[in-house]
């Protein structure tokens, strides 16, 4: 295993510098350069044709929708759109591409010079975007033999070319400095922001676990107080938001240990191991890759009409950062409350839907971040998969507001809903959960509580109203939690004043 410096020791001596290359598969109907179905997951090699297989004599034609998506992504990332650009061939020999080259863009990306802000724990960090370019995904390899399913030790490999030719966007940041201890968290927040952005634009499903969005995480360490960039490593196979943060943290600690010993970091590609949470070196290349890029002669240049670009700019949907600001204001949440919401995966959408279903925002937030987050956590599922819909949460809150149930009983209502016992109202009826606010029944319980606790009753008579809590508690206990606490208090004070 690698030597690792403690995280604090790394930060005491070095400033991390990040660079993130993100690949996003577009969800177009057809592939980038041919009409093959772009839906992932079909039977192997059933969505290929002479173009995406690179058979002699075939000619690619650019998918207009993919270009539109690329421009919209660029605009959403505050990029310039190139007035004129070309595709290029990136030549390499590897069985994931039968053509022996990937059609990509080289020094003429369709979008460039952008920026985007991400927030971590209330602090805003600006990430500069160097470029957004268009290319195609490659086929999928499965390695057989060797037991691990990995390429090392495999006896042979199997190739499915369905994915070859899927439109792929590469989004590259400039080196990001000045992040300090938050560097890994900023990397993660950037990925989360990109994912939300892709979904808001509707251009990609952006599911990291499905490989729709993939991250190559570059990091280097700069001795504090200097301005000279250190040697970076590039970590691949980082397939979840959590892994982005963990892989960056690991590399910072690994590089820190090497540098602290006076060693040199090797510039290399490293592989993230999700199971053991460490990186290992990739293949050692004897010399830098030479892809012999040249302009793709089978595709004519792209020159987006400025009027079209402006039309796309004007029709961008509300982007995540703006939506958050709007919702925070509409809901009257403090910055701290909003941070809790944003820190809780999926809760923003759920709260919005719950509010739309009629619940007050504060109540919607309370249920999703409290009771329901706890249950999701216990069940080990995402909040959205907890088993209660926003409409049901709004209905439960409606019952609370109407005085039918109190918060404690509402939890039992959720139990019933989760157990499949029907709507919140049906659960209240079938489980007999409604609060008792009938003065007759409550009065008896109040009298019993006073009789059982004469000392407390005397204190209240003497003016110590805060002692009423003990008697209210006694009544609640007797009524099995189903008493209307406010009415119990009124009845108590009436009798003891």
């Amino acid at each position: 295993m690698d030597d690792l410096l403690t995280y604090d020791a790394v930060l005491a001596r070095f400033d991390p510098v990040l660079g993130l290359e993100v690949h996003v598969e577009l969800n177009t109907a057809s592939k980038m350069f041919c009409g093959c179905d772009n839906t992932p997951g079909g039977e192997p090699n059933t969505t290929t044709c002479p173009v995406c297989l690179g058979l002699p004599g075939s000619l690619p034609v650019v998918n207009a929708h993919a270009v539109e998506s690329a421009i919209r992504i660029g605009l959403a990332l505050n990029c310039q759109v190139a007035p004129w650009c070309r595709f290029a061939r990136k030549n390499y020999f590897y069985p994931d591409m039968t053509k022996d080259f990937q059609t990509s863009q080289y020094d003429e990306p369709i979008c460039f010079d952008g920026w985007v802000d991400v927030e971590v724990e209330g602090e805003t960090f600006r990430i500069e975007i160097e470029r957004v370019h268009m290319e195609e995904d490659a086929g999928k390899l499965s390695h057989v033999g060797g037991g691990t399913g990995r390429i090392v030790g495999a006896e042979y490999s199997l190739v499915d070319y369905n994915r070859a030719g899927t439109p792929l966007m590469e989004i590259v940041t400039r080196p990001v400095r000045g992040l300090g201890a938050k560097a890994p968290a900023v990397g993660r927040a950037y990925m989360a922001m990109l994912r939300d952005l892709m979904r808001a634009l509707g251009v990609s499903d952006a599911r990291m676990e499905a490989g729709n969005m993939r991250c190559d995480a570059n990091v280097s360490l700069m001795p504090t107080g200097t301005a000279e960039l250190g040697t970076r490593t590039e970590t691949k196979n980082v397939n979840s938001l959590r892994s982005v943060e963990a892989a960056l943290t690991y590399e910072m600690r690994r590089q820190g240990a090497i540098l602290a010993e006076g060693g040199r970091v090797v510039q290399e590609t490293r592989h993230w191991h999700e199971d053991g949470e460490y990186t290992s070196p990739g293949r050692n290349k004897e010399q830098a890759e030479d892809y012999r890029y040249f302009p793709e002669p089978d595709l004519v240049p792209i020159a987006p009409d400025p009027a079209w670009v402006e039309e796309l700019r004007a029709s961008l949907p509300e982007l995540p950062a703006r939506r958050r600001a709007r919702l925070q204001e509409a809901w009257g949440f403090s910055d701290l409350e909003m941070r809790d919401v944003l820190g809780n995966e999926g809760s923003l959408d759920l709260i919005e839907a719950t509010v739309a279903a009629g619940a007050p925002p504060a109540a919607a937030r309370k249920w999703w971040l409290g009771e329901l987050a706890r249950r999701a956590n216990e069940a080990g599922v995402e909040l959205g998969a907890v088993g209660v819909t926003p409409e049901q949460v709004a209905q439960v809150q409606g019952l609370v507001d109407a005085g039918t149930v109190n918060d404690k009983l509402a939890r039992s209502v959720f139990d019933g809903v989760l157990a499949g016992e029907g709507s919140p109202e049906e659960v209240v009826a079938s489980r007999g959960l409604a609060v008792v606010s009938d003065d007759g029944a409550l009065g008896e319980a109040v009298d019993a509580a006073i009789a059982a606790n004469p000392d407390v009753a005397d204190k209240i008579r003497a003016g110590k109203v805060q002692a009423a809590g003990a008697l209210i508690g006694a009544v609640m206990k007797q009524m099995k939690g189903k008493a209307d606490a406010a009415r119990v208090r009124e009845l108590l004070l009436e009798r003891l004043s």
Binding site: P44, P95, S157, L158, Y161, R283, V300
Partner: protein, 98 residues
Amino acid sequence: MALTTADVARLAELARIALTPEELERLAPQLDVILDAVASVSEVATADTEPMSHALPLTNVFRDDVVTPSLPAAAVLAGAPSVEDGRFRVPRILGEGA
């Protein structure tokens, strides 16, 4: 222009073409002649001649995002030297000691 045998060896490696030292010696001057011939184009081109990568002055040749039929898998795999589970079977990618 003087193309060295080392240049040609590097190009051959990139193109995955195995050449013997004798072939490198023979091919380097031949390739040099070809490059010189192509270079003569630059004598004709003036400073205001834009470099071009296409013969036609076209831009924005697009197709609509419409799915068209793919090849049947059997046809796709028919030419493969080896097939397993509907996939192309390819030899070990990393050699021993990789």
